[in-house]
């Protein structure tokens, strides 16, 4: 497993799923509302991305246009950043943002830490008190998986073989009536957007929450679900074939 790829997955797939966590869990949205702030993780030889908290919404995106950040958190290496995400290390913020940083993530009760810990708990649940819990865990895991496909496809050395073979276009990934996402191959890169595809060339649709959870948690296999009709795949299947090859590699980064 590559630490660099893991860093991209951690930022855009794991932390990136905060975007949906605050949408799905009202308590999380309240925590996110506590502070409007833009945080930049600047990882040496790794991702350089922004986490924007604004009015209870979260957005995680690459810093491509010199966007301003309130807090800059430099990380000396992907390994260091991965330790930060695992709670084993703490980056030292650059001076102008240090007080905001301390408020935002300086202690366990700081908003960022409450949110990431809360989301981690939700994602790690394997038993559910009710359907709602199962739905939230499944949907969040689904979004993390889709984000993970893009990051692993772009960065993992082996997965890149499959990513390069993808024809340009959009791939619709969905849990029917519950969650929609789009993988887009363009300009030699794969991107994930957590919205319904407008021009899909291929479709992968989990028929319901139970099917999605069964597949994401590894309790059932995709082939059986295709036979049973609970996992629908259609369209330009070579796109899905290559996405599946990337997807096979994603779990080792999302553990």
């Amino acid at each position: 497993m590559s630490a660099r790829t893991k860093a991209f997955v951690n930022l855009y797939a794991a932390i990136g799923t905060l975007e949906k966590y605050v949408e799905l869990v009202p308590e999380a949205k309240e925590v996110a509302k506590q502070q409007n702030v833009v945080v930049r993780f600047k990882v040496n030889d790794g991702p350089d991305g922004l986490i924007e908290f604004k009015d209870g919404k979260v957005r995680v995106f690459p810093r491509e246009n010199n966007e301003r950040a309130d807090i800059v958190l430099p990380c000396k290496s992907p390994e260091f950043f991965n330790d930060v995400v695992d709670g084993k290390a703490m980056p030292i913020p650059t001076l102008p943002g240090i007080f905001k940083a301390l408020k935002f993530m300086g202690k366990p009760t700081s908003p960022f830490n409450v949110l990431t810990a809360g989301m981690t708990d939700v994602l790690r649940r394997t038993e559910f008190a009710n359907d709602k819990e199962k739905r939230v865990t499944t949907v969040l895991s689904f979004y993390a998986m889709v984000n993970g496909i893009a990051q692993v496809g772009n960065n993992d050395r082996i997965a890149r073989f499959a990513m390069k073979r993808l024809e340009d276009g959009e791939i619709s990934v969905a849990i029917r009536d519950e969650a929609y996402a789009t993988l887009t191959k363009k300009d030699g890169r794969l991107t994930a957007t957590l919205e319904k595809s407008t021009k899909p060339r291929a479709f992968m649709t989990f028929g319901d929450i139970d099917t999605a959870w069964g597949l994401i948690s590894g309790q059932v296999d995709a082939m059986s679900c295709i036979s049973a009709g609970t996992l629908e795949t259609s369209g330009q299947m070579l796109l899905l074939d290559n996405v599946n090859k990337i997807l096979n590699i994603v779990p080792k980064y999302l553990q």
Partner: protein, 418 residues
């Protein structure tokens, strides 16, 4: 009235408990691109001629021919009689039966090669062809043409394929089909390192309009390979005995160094063959390669009977005529409904695709599903096959069913076909 598949589904549920994927590989719902799976049968109960019946008793006019092996017709009486006669004498014995030699003699004469080596599946003989090429040339690299399929052995795969490691693929060189300049360039960059070029006679990859070779393409490839000491391997597993009984290299006017056959070789009995030119016979003798059932006699008897009958009835002419009859009928029906149906490839192995703005095959897959539910077994992703048992009456029945399916498609998508 469309088909229902209750027993198919029941059987698949049982299968899923004891067989990986229920039905693995290209006959299964996933790799077989049965979209949606609810439109397709999963298990056949019997076959006869150009038709098969599923476990629910639904009848299908079959344009997949078991993905190629059914070349004369299911349960062809002549082939089955020959196989049964040999079975009474012996099948898998301590020594090979004389029919082995008879089959090799007949096959090599038919496909204009000097020797034949028998295995069981297509992948067995493509792998052996690569091994022989490497041994003979002392080189490692293999040229592939984009969209290729030569089996599932690791050397045919990419590093991201589960079960394949990067080292398995490090000697692959990949260039487009029909592109002589790309061939020259890859050879220049890998001078004296390339053992072989392996290719199907034309590009019949999945989900693409099939592409025939440009005028003079194979002649130029042949010349370049000879000049550079590169073994030219024709993978004729899919096209073999459907374009020509003399090998698809002959059909396209060249002579390959090695040529592989399987599918249509024995009308469903399990045998594959690698045939080659004399200068590679010593290498074929030297490279260790064998299998428990490779010299079983029954498939050889079946293969011999198959080839003799294909020759006797001029089968390739029939395949082409039936293919043209079907394509012409479907194109006419599609045109009348403003459906942009595209037929490509050789008529005996036609590929169909309904074009659409998003290039996402949805309309095409919907149409194919409606055809299958009414008793015409087509696929959306793969070229089709025609067997000798196909008749004009069955073709015309097919056109009728497929036209009805087109009407359903138009009704379901009124904005798409104005």
């Amino acid at each position: 009235m469309t088909y229902v598949y209750n027993k198919n589904v029941e059987t698949m549920i049982r299968a899923g408990k004891v067989i990986p994927s229920g039905v693995y590989g290209h006959l299964g719902p996933a790799e077989g691109c049965m979209i949606p799976s609810s439109a397709f049968p999963f298990f056949a109960s019997k076959g006869k001629g150009a038709e098969f019946w599923d476990v629910d008793g639904n009848r299908f006019i079959d344009y997949m021919c078991a993905y190629g092996p059914n070349v004369l017709g299911y349960n062809d009486p002549d082939v089955d009689a020959a196989a049964q006669a040999q079975a009474k004498l012996g099948n898998c014995m301590t020594l090979p039966a004389p029919v082995t030699v008879e089959f090799a003699e007949y096959l090599t004469q038919l496909v204009k090669k000097d020797w034949a080596f028998f295995c069981k599946n297509g992948g067995d003989v493509t792998s052996f062809a690569i091994m022989i090429s490497r041994y003979y040339t002392g080189r490692k690299k293999i040229i592939f043409l984009h969209g290729y399929y030569h089996g599932v052995a690791p050397w045919t795969q990419h590093p991201d394929t589960p079960g394949t490691i990067e080292e398995d693929c490090k000697n692959g060189l990949y260039i487009p089909f029909n592109d002589i300049e790309a061939l020259k360039e890859v050879i220049a960059k890998n001078k004296d390192k390339i053992a072989c070029l392996i290719a199907t006679p034309y590009m019949h990859g999945n989900f693409i309009d099939n592409e025939l070779p440009k005028e003079g393409y194979w002649q130029e490839v042949r010349k370049i390979c000879t000049e550079n000491g590169i073994i030219l391997i024709f993978d004729d597993i899919r096209c073999g005995f459907r374009l020509s009984l003399h090998g698809s290299d002959t059909y396209f006017g060249i002579e390959a160094d090695l040529i592989t056959f399987c599918k249509a070789l024995a009308n469903g009995y399990n045998v594959s063959a690698l045939c080659g030119k004399n200068f590679l016979k010593g290498a074929a003798s030297t490279v260790p390669y064998t299998g428990s059932y490779w010299l079983s006699a029954v498939p050889f008897a079946a293969g011999l009977a198959t080839l003799k009958k294909l020759e006797k009835v001029n089968a390739t002419d029939h395949f082409e005529k039936m293919g043209i009859r079907l394509i012409t009928g479907l194109e006419k029906a599609a045109k009348a409904r403003n459906i942009p149906l595209i037929a490509s490839g050789h008529p005996s192995m036609f590929y169909l695709r309904i074009d659409d703005e998003l290039k996402n095959f949805r309309l095409h897959q919907e149409w194919i599903a409606e055809c299958v539910k009414r008793g015409v077994f087509l696929t959306n992703h793969h070229n089709h096959f025609i067997c000798y048992a196909m008749t004009p009456e069955l073709i015309d029945e097919t056109i009728g069913i497929c036209t009805e399916a087109m009407d359903v498609l138009v009704r379901n998508n009124p904005d798409k076909f104005k």
